[in-house]
Symmetry: C2
Subunit: 401 residues, 2 copies
C-alpha cells in the first residue's frame, strides 16, 4: 500500500478538506481554532467557522477569509503540482515533532516568557515523493546566510552531502546561499533533501532557485504550512524557520551574520529541545559572527565535519547499529534498543521525549533508534506519537520482566 493510499484510507476526504480550510482561514493556527478542532473535530469546526457560528473571537480571526477559503479547491490546486496535504491522522503526520511548538521551552505555564507560543500547523502541504514519517525520523536542518563566503558554501555542501551519505534527510529553506548549497549538494549525491518554503508549494520561491526547487520536489519534497497560492512575507519566513526547527532532529548553522534568519531557526531549535550546531569560521569574517555567537553564548556544538553532524542529529545508534533484522526480535537486541522498545506504549502513542524520559536514554538516541525500529516494523508512528507494533512475533519473544 503506498503512502497516498494509506493516507486516503486513514483520513476521509472531507476531513482533509476541512484541515485545508482550517489551515488557510487564519494566517496562523490560533488557540481558538485548535480548541474548536479538539472539541468538535475538524469537519464541524470548519462548518462552524465558515458559517460564522464559532464565537466572537474566532469569527473575528476568520472574518476576512472565512467565506473565501475553499478546502477542496486548495487540494485540487495542490494536485496540479502533485502536492498533497498531510494532516493529523495520516500515518506520516509528524505530530510528535510539531507538538512542542504549543509549549516551547522558556515559555512559562502562565503563558508568559521570552519564547512565543507558536501552535502546531493544521497540516503540511507536501510536494514530492519523500514520505514524511520516514524521512523526518532521521533528519538534520542545514541553514545559513543568503550571502555566504565561498568557504561557507563549500562547508555547507560538504556537510550536507556527508550527512545525506550517512542516510540523513537534509532540510533547509530553499533560499539563496547556504540553503541552496545544502540542497544542491544532497541532490549531487542522490540523497534526500526537503525544502520548507515560506509561501505555497506551487510558488517556488525565490524564482532564481526555481530549477533547484523543482528538482528537490521531484526527488525529496518541497513543503509549506501555507496553502497553495500564498506569497511570501517577512513573518512567513520566520514561521518557516520555526517549522524547519521543529521537523528536524537537529539544526546546523553554517554561516550567519549577526542578524541572520538562521539564528531564529537556531533559537527555535533550542526552544524545542533540539540540538543546535554551528560551524566556526574566521573571527574576521562577518558571515561567521552569528555562528560564533551561538558557539560562545548559546551552547551550540561546534561542527567541523560530517561525523559531528551525525553525532549531533543521530547519536549513538549510528556508531554501533545492530545487525539488520535483529530488531524484529527482543532476543539479541542491544540494551538501548530494548529499553526504548520497552518504554513504548502498545496503544495510543508517546513523543520521543517521553520515551527518552521513561527509558533513561538521550532523546537524540531515542529518535535514531525509533527510526530504525520503524524501518524494521517493530515500532509505528501514529497520530498520537510512537507506539510498539502489535506484531505477534514481537510479543512471542517478549521476556518476562
Amino acid at each position: 500500500m503506498s503512502v497516498g493510499e494509506q493516507e486516503a484510507a486513514a483520513v476521509p476526504r472531507d476531513v482533509r478538506e476541512a484541515y485545508a480550510y482550517l489551515g488557510a482561514v487564519t494566517e496562523r493556527p490560533t488557540a481558538q481554532v485548535w480548541d474548536l478542532v479538539d472539541s468538535v473535530g475538524p469537519v464541524a469546526a470548519r462548518d462552524l467557522i465558515r458559517d460564522g457560528r464559532a464565537g466572537e473571537t474566532l469569527n473575528a480571526q476568520a472574518e476576512s477569509r472565512r467565506e473565501h477559503v475553499d478546502g477542496a479547491a486548495l487540494l485540487e490546486s495542490a494536485a496540479t503540482v502533485s502536492a498533497r496535504l498531510v494532516v493529523p491522522g495520516d500515518p506520516g503526520w509528524p505530530g510528535y515533532a510539531l507538538a512542542p511548538l504549543d509549549r516551547p521551552r522558556g515559555r512559562r505555564r502562565d503563558g508568559t516568557g521570552g519564547v512565543p507560543t507558536a501552535l502546531r500547523p493544521l497540516g503540511l502541504w507536501w510536494r514530492g515523493p519523500a514520505d514524511p514519517a520516514t524521512e523526518l525520523g532521521r533528519s538534520v536542518a542545514v541553514v545559513g546566510t543568503r550571502a555566504p563566503t565561498p568557504y561557507g558554501r563549500t562547508v555547507a555542501a560538504d556537510l550536507s552531502a556527508g550527512a545525506a551519505a550517512e542516510g540523513f534527510t537534509v532540510v533547509s529553506g530553499g533560499a539563496f546561499g547556504i540553503d541552496a548549497a545544502a540542497h544542491r549538494a544532497v541532490l549531487g549525491v542522490r540523497g534526500t533533501t526537503i525544502a520548507v518554503l515560506a509561501g505555497g508549494v506551487d510558488r517556488l520561491y525565490p524564482r532564481g532557485n526555481d530549477g533547484l526547487l523543482r528538482e528537490v520536489a521531484e526527488t525529496g519534497a518541497v513543503v509549506s504550512a501555507q496553502p497553495p497560492g500564498t506569497g511570501v512575507t517577512r513573518y512567513r519566513f520566520l514561521d518557516r524557520n520555526r517549522i524547519i526547527a521543529a521537523l528536524t532532529g537537529a539544526t546546523v548553522v553554517v554561516e550567519a551574520a549577526a542578524r541572520s534568519g538562521a539564528l531564529s531557526t537556531a533559537a527555535w531549535a533550542a526552544a524545542l529541545d533540539r540540538p543546535v550546531g554551528a560551524v566556526p569560521g574566521p573571527v574576521t569574517s562577518v558571515a561567521s559572527v552569528g555562528c560564533h555567537l551561538l558557539l560562545r553564548d548559546r551552547g551550540a556544538v561546534l561542527i567541523g565535519r560530517t561525523a559531528d553532524v551525525v553525532e549531533l542529529a543521530g547519536a549513538m545508534g549510528e556508531t554501533a547499529p545492530p545487525p539488520a533484522g535483529e530488531a524484529t526480535s527482543w532476543d539479541g537486541m542491544d540494551d538501548v534498543t530494548r529499553r526504548i522498545l520497552e518504554a513504548l506504549p502498545t496503544s495510543g502513542g508517546a513523543a520521543p521525549a517521553e520515551v527518552a524520559r521513561s527509558a533513561g536514554i538521550a532523546p537524540t538516541t531515542v529518535r535514531a533508534v525509533l527510526g530504525r525500529l520503524m524501518s524494521t516494523g517493530a515500532a509505528v508512528r501514529g497520530p498520537e506519537g510512537w507506539r510498539r507494533s502489535g506484531d505477534g512475533g514481537m510479543q512471542l519473544s517478549l521476556p518476562v520482566s
Copy 2:
C-alpha cells in the same frame, strides 16, 4: 624602595643561593626536595643534598649534579644578562599562582589520576624590569602553533595588542609563529609582555627570535624555571607550557594543530582552574583543528575579539573600575571590592581562590580586584599569599560589621 632592594631586604643572599642550587640540582623539583626545604629550610636542605647526607632517594635524584651545581655562580651568571632569581619569600614570588601545580584538578588525593603532579619550581629566573607580582596579577597567556596561517598571525597580534592596551600583561613562550606575533604586537603598543623560555634566560631561544626576545627582556621580562646555561629539550618545552599556564589568569589559544604544544598549555590551564579560550577558524584549516577541539570537547570559551579576552582573564572589575584613589578608603568603595578586602586576612596570606570562596566572588574578578588593591596599597602579596595592608588609614574607616 625598588623591587631589587625589597627582595634583597626580604631574602638573605645565602637563601637565594640555596634556592638557585636546589632548583638546578634536579631536572625538576621533586617531592623529596620540597619536603626537605619545608622541614629544614633552603640553606640546610642545600647543604644536606650537596654533602650527600639527604637520604637515599634524594642522593640518587641529585647524584649527577650535586657536586657540580654552584648557586652563587648561577646568580652571577644571571647577573651578566641582568637577570635575577625570584624565590619564595620575595614580595614578587607568585607562590599563589604556582601552588596549584602541586595538586592539579583531576589528580586524586591518593596521588593517582590523569593529571601528573608537577610541583612548584624552586625559583624563577627573571630577566627584565617587569615586576612579577604587579605584572602577573593581570595577565593572559596567548599561545599557539609555530606554523600559523596569516589569519592566525593577524588575530594573535590584534588580540595581544588589544589586551595590552587594556592593561594586561601578555605572556607567551617566545617561539616562532603565534608566540612571536603576540610578543611583537605588545611591544608595538608599548605594553608589557613576558616570554617564558624552556632553557636559560641567558640563552635566547630560538635564535631567530633573538632580537625580539632581547627587546622583550628590555621592556618586560624573559623568564625561566631553568638556570642560566640550560639548553632546550622537548620535555623542557612541556615544563615551560605548564609554567605559562600557572602564571597567567587565563590562556588563549589562537591557532593550534591537532598535536600542538599549545594544547598542553591549555590542558594545564584547565587543570589549574584557569579559564581557557580558543580562537576559531575555518574548519578546513589544519591550523585551527586544535582550537576547534578545545571549543567542541574541552569547554574552552570562544574568543573573537579583545573584549572576549578581557572577560575571560579579567572579569567584571574591568567594565566598572572604581574611581582612582577611592580604594584607599572603605567608604565609597564598590561592594565587590569591599567584600574582597573584608575577606583578606590581616596577617599571613590567602590564595585568590580562598578569597574568592570566602567573598563569594568569581576568582577571575578577585584576581583583577586584588591587582588593583595592590596598586593602591590596600592589599599586599607576601610569601603566604594575599593579605590586607596594615595601613592605619584603612583601619580607621573600617565599618563595624
